[in-house]
């Protein structure tokens, strides 16, 4: 276990380094230098160059850049709000994005489990077909289509929820974005739960449990669902990562002041420094989630650990 964890941590670190290298190369390729501001005189420019180490060889610059990034010094924004440190821009936005993503995972996981359970327990009935149709649509229709539909119907026409995010009513304005983001998670979990439950329900130990006289609630939740849950956890990680990307457009649609809409704004206003910093943050989040989940699998299910060791 220790060896496996160590190996995964080292791979993750290398990935992070590779990403930093790619980002660094892109920085060099980007048109225009951050310090070509005409208001700066030669001394100021030299001072800035020394501060960011731009007067040193490229390799030294790279390591300095890595050090700055890892310490959280992401540089300053050029276009969106001039000379504001990017870390400051992000600080207020990250919690909003994370909370909406969190609601989405929660809604998606709970509804998905229920839908999958119903489909499996009422196998080959109209309920099963209905759940299948819902999950196919949820998997294949992109989240921002749901976002637009919800915002038009419930935000604009009915006026139940605010169409655009308002800081005065954070809970109400999180409802529509969270629901539209949760559709994909819900659908994938429903599909997975259904197939896992069908397999578990047909197993010998379920027959045993039933013949012991256990029935109803306890049978389904204590015996069946518990065994079906482990594989379901394995699909959650990629879904959380998908949420990150889905949130970009959804945040833009609902004008949520989160990290996703910051990235979209930065792309649209050519604020390369912000784009690159956010790319770094997204990558780091992605790598950390994948790392944690991979290690968790090993703890939850020894078979995965052994299989990875053998099949590597």
């Amino acid at each position: 276990m220790g060896k496996y964890t160590l190996k995964r941590v080292i791979t993750a670190l290398f990935t992070l380094l590779a990403i930093l290298l790619v980002l660094f190369i892109l920085m060099q390729l980007m048109p225009g230098s951050p310090f070509n501001d005409e208001k700066l005189n030669a001394d100021q420019r030299a001072a800035l160059y020394t501060k960011y180490g731009l007067d040193q060889p490229v390799t030294v610059q790279f390591f300095k850049y890595v050090g700055n990034m890892l310490r959280g010094d992401l540089g300053v924004s050029y276009n969106i709000s001039k000379n504001t440190p990017i870390s400051q821009l992000i600080k207020t936005r990250l919690p909003i994005s994370i909370s909406i993503g969190g609601y989405a995972v929660l809604i998606g996981a709970v509804l998905g489990l229920l839908l999958g359970l119903v489909a499996a327990l009422k196998h080959n009935t109209i309920w099963d077909s209905l759940a299948t149709v819902i999950s196919v649509i949820g998997v294949s229709v992109p989240s921002y289509v749901f976002a637009l539909a919800l915002s038009y119907n419930f935000g604009f026409k009915l006026g139940w929820f605010p169409m655009l995010f308002s800081p005065n009513d954070i809970f109400k304005s999180s409802v529509l974005p969270s629901i539209s983001l949760s559709m994909f998670t819900m659908a994938s979990i429903a599909r997975f739960t259904r197939s896992e439950m069908l397999e578990v329900l047909g197993s010998d130990y379920m027959l045993l449990a039933e013949s012991k006289g256990i029935s109803g609630f306890a049978l389904i939740f204590r015996h069946a669902l518990r065994n079906a849950l482990i594989p379901i956890i394995t699909v959650l990680a990629p879904l959380i990562v998908d949420l990150m990307t889905g949130s970009l457009v959804v945040e833009k649609i609902f004008a949520i002041p989160g990290v996703g809409s910051l990235l979209v704004n930065a792309i649209q206003s050519n604020d390369y420094n912000v784009v690159i910093s956010l790319s770094f943050i997204y990558s780091a989040m992605y790598i950390i989630i994948m790392l944690v989940v991979d290690i968790l699998y090993g703890i939850i299910d020894p078979r995965i650990r052994l299989a990875k060791k053998g099949g590597d």
């Binding site: 998997v139 294949s140 229709v141 599909r191 990307t245 979209v264 050519n270 990558s283 992605y286």
Partner: protein, 355 residues
Amino acid sequence: MSGKNAAATVNGTVSYTPVDADFKWKNNAKEIGIDENFASQGFWKDVFVRYFKKVSAVIGLALIVVITVFAIIGPQMNEFSYSTQYLDQKNFAPRIAALERFGIFDGSESMKTTTGSMKINYYEEKGLNDLYYWFGSDNFGRDIWTRTWSGARVSLIIAVAAALIDMIIGMSYGLISGYFGGKTDMIMQRILEIANGIPRLVIVTLLLLVLEPGMLTIIFALMLTEWVGMSRIARAEMLKLKEQEFVLASRTLGAGSFFIIFKEVLPNIIGPIITQVMFSIPTAIFTEAFLSFVGLGIPVPQCSLGSLISEGFNSFTTHPYQIIPPIVVMALLMLSFNLVADGLREALDPKFKEM
């Protein structure tokens, strides 16, 4: 023992002298029963039958065919082109000749004003009674019908091209990595893990910032992101097959690695690969739409489904008909590719556990 070549009985033993007629070809094709119940069927025929048994897969296929046909002929079906702007014909609501009698698609739309909502019809207001914009016209007076289908065409070309290139790269990478194993595999898999560790959207976004936007750039960017999944599948299949007898036989006969990989193993894993290609097409459509939405997509006046959605988004509360066609076409495309991929997966591999 009868007939004209009657056997002669000599001293109690039967002796028989064969004649030429005995060696005649006995044409008994009719007597040999062909076992129709258990007759072996070709693999592809089997796949075909299984695929068409699934209703959702057939619906998906039909939708793809219909959308593709419209993407090819749709833009030529009326007199408008995708880029011509008639600035005096902005924001016309949909109007279809056959349906306007029934009060729908008659070119009128309700506008919210300070005194409540009112119905206006730009066609009548401007006296353009012979003009029909089937899906309406956009903010610059361009026909949405033409633009939707030419957008669908661009999106389809990008998605299919990216998926095919992905297939070639990912497949070769996975097959080579799996076949050679050992150190080669180790190094190739570490590279893959690092490539997989970078979020796809980040790669695509950054690439498009550096490169000139356009169809080829988008295909290139999509190509860089989707090959990982394909190569995983190809490698896993290769690991399963490379120890089998037919590979050993081929090697014994002196076949080289290249021949074994591409001529012996590849035809045997074509099923999972086709399925994966079908799954990567909707992903590519989605990614392209995302890029267009944030402004990194196809440059104007060309359009894709994504750029149409992003244009329609700007006025979707006042003129909702502008965003509906591209969104519906895109949702249907992604849905039908997923349905077809699901159907293919089950048809090609009946033992596969549905998930």
